[in-house]
């Protein structure tokens, strides 16, 4: 239909006539989305690092001499939240002790017979479950003693919880700020054309016909903002992670996978377009209502 043609032409008119404003709005949206996406990546990355650290956390279970190590392994592995079990023979335990003592390793030579018991080293799926697993282990008759960095486990668990809260908080604040700025920008843009809008309606244009270019403009600017923010973030994240992993390899920050960027695209591009539409709608409909209200 001819109407669609006219509407599309008007969209491009809106975008290109005030190209300065278009670029500014675009860049503003991009900036907002950079903030949202950046905090999303930063926190999800901090989360991954903490999860990694928590994964390094181990529980050592010392086993009474009379039990068969190999037979015990599957039983331990069946305990909930246990991710991995490694056997440690008395010989390797002694080697580790020597290593631990370092300069004073010769002390061990004085021991004669190896006094160390065999043990199991467990990895737990999440630091917050270390306590539960340790208790389950203690209740087993085969286990003589359980040693693990309870304090460290608790710290990591709590750190993880705080980071999760922070993630939600920061993203919520960033999105709120983003909505506010977008809405404001679109609102003022429409405001500055409210008289034209009123004239168009007086000349016989339908509200839909008048509003549609603004709505599509909002969607296009929101989408553009989202896309450019995603591209920049993807690139920046890769560079950033490389840099960090070179400087601080022990953190083992995860390289951006595909699924994290699908999330980003959905969040930023989809969110941008939806936001653009909604903001434009709110801003435009108000002026249309004003213009059509009879004196």
């Amino acid at each position: 239909m001819a109407t669609i043609r006219y509407i599309l032409r008007d969209v491009f008119r809106l975008l290109f006539r005030h190209w300065g404003l278009t670029i500014l709005t675009w860049v503003t949206m991009m900036a907002v989305f950079l903030a949202v996406g950046g905090s999303f990546l930063l926190t999800s990355c901090a989360h991954a690092v903490v999860a990694k650290l928590a994964g390094d956390l181990t529980i050592e279970a010392y086993i009474a001499k009379e039990f068969e190590l190999e037979a015990l392994k599957p039983k331990i592995e069946a305990i909930p939240h246990v991710k991995e079990v490694t056997l440690v023979t008395p010989e390797s335990a002694l080697a580790r002790l020597k290593e631990l003592l370092g300069e004073q390793a010769q002390v061990v030579e004085l021991l004669g017979e190896n006094p160390l018991p065999p043990s199991l080293v467990l990895q737990v799926d999440d630091a917050s479950n270390a306590d539960v697993v340790a208790q389950t282990l203690r209740s087993l008759p085969e286990i003589e003693d359980v040693v693990y960095a309870r304090e460290a486990a608790n710290r990591l668990a709590r750190l993880n919880a705080v980071i999760r809260q922070l993630t939600i908080g920061i993203i919520a604040v960033a999105i709120m700020i983003g909505i506010l700025i977008l809405f404001n920008t679109v609102r003022i843009a429409v405001y500055s054309r409210r008289e034209e809008l009123a004239v168009m309606l007086k000349v016989g244009a339908t509200p839909t016909y008048v509003a549609m270019p603004f709505l599509l403009q909002g969607v296009i600017l929101g989408g553009l903002g989202g896309i450019s923010a995603t591209l920049i973030l993807t690139r920046a994240y890769t560079v950033f992670v490389k840099h960090i992993n070179r400087l601080l390899p022990f953190l083992m920050v995860p390289e951006g996978g595909t699924e994290i960027f699908i999330q980003l695209v959905l969040l930023l591009v989809g969110g941008g377009m939806a936001l653009g539409w909604i903001c434009s709608w709110i801003a435009t409909s108000r002026h249309i209502r004003d213009a059509l209200r009879p004196l």
């Binding site: 001819a2 006219y6 006539r17 034209e196 168009m200 007086k202 339908t206 016909y209 059509l292 009879p294």
Partner: protein, 231 residues
């Protein structure tokens, strides 16, 4: 379209009585002058007919449309059949002269080819073809006024409302405009024209409705401009 205004009054917020108890019936195809001193309510009455204002009391119907209670959709549908020349032109400054006229047709969903033909014709007729690429602020006062007339006329409306369409025109051009309005009227369009132009009213005789301080004081077939002219 027949216009029936019965008992219409318009009172602005505190206590400005712009119109009081107006009864007019305009038959389809009629040509009607609305005269009266400044501030007598001519524009307000025209606004009631275009749906820009709603009467405080009374009824207004235009053909099948009841303007007292009309939703948004109906209003913009109605406005397609009504051409309006606003007293202050209300041109779109960011569009060229050509686009200003074309827009009125685009809003009705008319295909581009037809728009090109009709717009070209009307601009030519109003002597604006050579100015078609200029924006309204670059046009002279008279050119702006003719552009406003072109926009109202181009969609061949059933009802043409013209509020002081010759205020910025010299006498010759004003006569040219009257020729156009009369030929449109001859093709069946109802025309209502508010004016201060004594010469026009007295030369091109038609029905005259006079307002004074919001009240109808005269309604004559083939009337004259009236006593507050240059007597």
């Amino acid at each position: 379209m027949e216009i029936r205004i019965s008992g219409a009054s318009k009172i602005f917020k505190p206590d400005i009585v712009a119109l009081e108890d107006i009864y007019i019936t305009v038959r389809p195809g009629e040509f009607l002058y609305l005269v009266g001193p400044t501030g007598s309510g001519k524009s307000t009455l025209l606004r009631l007919i275009t749906g820009e204002a709603r009467p405080t009391r009374g009824q207004i119907t235009v053909g099948p449309f009841n303007l007292r209670k009309m939703g948004w959709g109906a209003l913009s549908y109605y406005r397609r059949y009504v051409g309006v020349v606003f007293q202050d032109f209300k041109l779109l400054p960011h569009l060229t002269a050509y686009e200003n006229v074309a827009f009125a047709l685009e809003a009705m969903g008319i295909p581009p080819k037809e728009i090109r033909v009709k717009t070209g014709e009307v601009l030519d007729r109003l002597g604006l073809w050579r100015r078609r690429f200029l924006h309204p602020p670059q046009l002279s006062g008279g050119e702006q006024q003719r552009l406003a007339i072109a926009r109202a006329v181009v969609k061949s409306p059933s009802l043409l409302i013209a509020d002081e369409p010759t205020g910025n025109l010299d006498a010759n051009t004003a006569e040219g405009i009257m020729d156009i309005l009369l030929s449109i009227n001859a093709s069946g369009t109802t025309v209502i024209m508010a004016t201060h132009n004594q010469y026009i009213v007295d030369t091109y005789r038609a029905r005259v409705v006079e307002l004074r301080m919001g009240r109808m004081t005269r309604d004559e077939e083939k009337g004259r401009y009236g006593s507050y002219g240059y007597n």
